[in-house]
Symmetry: C2
Subunit: 516 residues, 2 copies
């Protein structure tokens, strides 16, 4: 019964195919053009693994494809692969925190446009404390303007004094870099830099949290907020994103009210009208909001929150896409703590004939059997539509099966996971486990303003660069799935998918055409 080598090779091919049979890019037969484009991209990836990633890069001792994002970002942007992916139609952003979606340079630029926006510090800024003292931003009512001309860096500055942002910038001590020094300081406080990215998990979460505190002071100013939202839509569409479901906190201290939702709606209409004028209507299907509150509130507060969410859903049915509770899972309360209230929310929805799906963060952790890991059980039992992160899902065979069978999509945020130290590089990321097990996945940037992974191109790049299995066709499936698993109504979803397919076809054709 000896096996000859040809028979062995037949068995081998069959086994590999069987092993990959649950992958979304394995079930569809690609068109000839898709197959050619995929091959071109694979060859380019292999070539650049040597020509770009194998070359010397100043300040990057051991570059490799899929490496730490903040350190490798400049190298990524030099690749042809990145340029190709930047043109790819990417479907939906399903997981992004609205407060973290517009780049910090632009946010600061916006702040300078409004005399109402002020800044103060808790200490006089000096060369030695500049990296530790954070700016506090705040819009002041006109009656409160005192128009001080004192610099934050002047010895006469009284800590706590609100100075107009523009003044603070212009008077910033030349010894600390002058206006550009101010920009560097302010932007540094709203973003994570490469050296911080390499620090321990605990410290990176502290820095991450503080970036929100700083930028919130600027963006929670209604006139600026509108331009902020517009910029988010504009840059997303530029990156090939055609639909968005953004999370935003409606917790009382966040000061988010109906006015903010109305603004979101209005900006969306304006943006769509602008696109339509340019003949680009199909490039943007729309944007919705996932109502979120925080995992430190009480059960009573949660009852209030979902009642508020229901009221908003009744008023803005086309805007409220779902409900979530957010915040670092390793340190805040687990979902099980809130389960009673969430069951009541579910019952109330049924009574009212409403559909506000849960779209829970769960399993954003390295824990094995910790409360954060166990959140996956509750998310699924409570009937979550999708799972935010689901990083630890791969440890749970039954839950993996459930996600596959019930079509629960995982919103995977590769770069976020790496920067927040769940994985050291894309090579260690469990994404291939999900894909190979047929669990639906969409890629998301999470907090691009802080991480510098604006749009979806960077996350798509990291995933493509770190695999020899996933190719362009595989990325296409992820994009397609992001739209399929959105909360869009049937007709809208069909329109979104049809528009995407049309653009995808053009995209793969353009790869083949430019390679002839």
């Amino acid at each position: 019964m000896a096996l000859n080598f040809a028979e062995y090779m037949e068995q081998r091919t069959a086994l590999i195919n069987h092993d990959r049979s649950l992958r979304p890019d394995h079930s569809r037969t690609p068109t000839e053009v898709e197959a050619r484009a995929d091959k071109i991209v694979r060859e380019l990836r292999a070539a650049e693994a040597v020509s770009v990633w194998g070359a010397e890069h100043e300040g990057v001792p051991h570059p490799f494809p899929g490496m730490e994002f903040l350190t490798g970002r400049n190298i990524i942007m030099k690749t042809e692969l990145f340029k190709i992916l930047s043109k790819m139609p990417k479907g939906a952003i399903l997981h992004a925190h609205l407060d973290a979606t517009v780049n910090a340079e632009y946010v600061l630029k916006l702040a300078l446009d409004y005399p109402a926006l002020h800044v103060c510090t808790t200490e006089l800024l000096t060369a030695s404390n500049l990296n530790n003292i954070l700016p506090q931003f705040k819009p002041l009512a006109q009656a409160m303007f005192t128009n001080p001309t004192v610099a934050l860096t002047d010895t006469s500055y009284a800590p706590g004094t609100w100075v107009p942002v523009k003044t603070a910038r212009e008077t910033f001590d030349p010894a600390l870099g002058g206006p550009e020094g101010f920009d560097k300081w302010a932007i540094g406080a709203m973003t994570i830099n490469p050296s911080e990215g390499e620090s321990a998990a605990r410290r990176i979460w502290e820095k991450f949290t503080s970036t929100f505190t700083v930028s919130t002071g600027i963006i929670r100013f209604l006139p600026l907020w509108k331009r902020y939202i517009y910029e988010f839509f504009r840059t997303s569409v530029e990156d090939g994103v055609s639909y968005i479901e953004a999370r935003i906190n409606f917790h009382l201290i966040m000061l988010i009210t109906k006015e903010w939702l109305k603004a979101f709606d209005q900006v969306q209409q304006d943006f769509k009208a602008d696109l339509k004028r340019q003949g680009r209507r199909d490039e943007f299907i729309g944007a919705r909001i996932i109502y979120t509150t925080l995992r430190f509130i009480t059960l009573d507060e949660l009852d209030l929150a979902w009642k508020d969410c229901i009221a908003l859903k009744l008023e803005f049915p086309h805007l409220i896409a779902g409900f979530d509770l957010v915040g670092p899972e390793n340190t805040l309360k687990p979902l099980i703590y809130y389960a009673e209230s969430l069951l009541r929310f579910r019952d109330r929805q049924k009574e009212m004939g409403l559909d506000i799906p849960f779209i829970f963060h769960a399993g954003e952790t390295l824990g094995d059997g910790t409360e954060a890991d166990d959140n996956l059980y509750d998310a699924i039992l409570l009937g979550t539509l999708r799972i935010g992160h689901g990083f630890s899902l791969v440890k749970h065979p039954k839950l993996m099966e459930t996600c596959r069978e019930k079509n629960i999509l995982i919103e995977v945020c590769p770069i976020s996971n790496e920067i927040l130290r769940l994985t050291s590089s894309m090579l260690m990321h469990p994404l291939p486990v999900l894909i190979n097990n047929g669990v639906p996945v969409a890629l998301s940037p999470d907090d691009p303003a802080m991480f510098g992974n604006m749009g979806l191109t960077f996350d798509f790049y990291q995933v493509l660069a770190a695999s020899e299995v996933t190719g362009l066709i595989g990325l296409g499936e992820l994009a397609r799935d992001s739209l399929k698993h959105s909360t869009l109504e049937v007709a809208e979803k069909e329109r979104a998918l049809a528009a995407w397919e049309k653009r995808w076809k053009k995209f793969v054709e353009s790869i083949v055409a430019s390679n002839v």
Copy 2:
């Protein structure tokens, strides 16, 4: 159909149990004593996560359970959990490279006992090159002794001159630390230190490879080799290990011949006799050799290797446990390159009625669809009895299923994987994925002399510390499985398991007794 909270909790418990139903520690009902010991250990783990891992430790900025081994080693050794585990009966070491199993201090001490052992360097040693110049060790025939008294650190030293190790040590320049400086230098060349452990993957493999080159010069000296083997057996048994299958290279350049096998056999008999005299017969069932060659040889050379392996199996049927090809998978030849020859080997075994199972290294990689990752397909198709490392196995749903159904055990080497940069800490290790999917697992130290994880206690500690699911009973299952998946004959295996069960019972009783 509203669900009340009690019903929800029932569903939740059922789901968690279902999710964990494939775990080995889930199928057996523990005895009352086991359950109590397990609880004690869980409470101790939780307490020490705060009292030890939450405390300040000099030179360790952010300690945490399951952290980088080389940096956290001293903290681990301070814990009560470590002390308890050191007494646990651990079953078999199924994955260790014989050249890397005795600690470097002891190897150097042995070297000093033999006038034949010499050392030389390629450059005069100075304070500035001490960390870069490696010692070369070599036993010389007596006729070649020149007995030079020149120090390696003396300006008159001619690079390449062989100096007796003892002389070299005694004459080591006091400015470089004198004899202790020599020890530090020599031991440093045979081990990996914490700062090297944190360097990039590429560099750590270079250092790792060089440690073998250095120590081989000492241990390939037959009289010393015997004492080396004895020490390996002795320390393993002290650590609670009762059976060993060690890999050793029989490639020509390694100079391993029948004499070395005979020595291995003789030392084993001596060691068993010594234990028997002490009334400790059941603490050591024995040791076997997995014949290995290297993944850079040609197909013709592989044909020669397995013919050699067959000849040895015929002469030492009780010693030859299996066959493997070793070396870094990411850079050397894949198994598929050797498949034709390996199929011939398999056929020949059938003709001769022999059983030399393949026990292949496979998937020791972060690659997704790379040749190293694909080695898993070939290992399984070629009928491997176990898999060495199998780090990337979790990506392959069909192969996971096959391993579970065909009972193919994975020899997981947690600390090795972390030091060689497959994972950044135990928290990122895919081990829970294997266990939760019912894939049989045994823990192994791989190369403890280089990594400092002598025995099995350190690897067991890292696994226990990094999980809230795995407890003492879970570790017991891993130990039991290591014996079950050994190549021992039926009767021997039954004896080994019975002896282990007896010790395990005493062990859990002692935990409960000492905690009253």
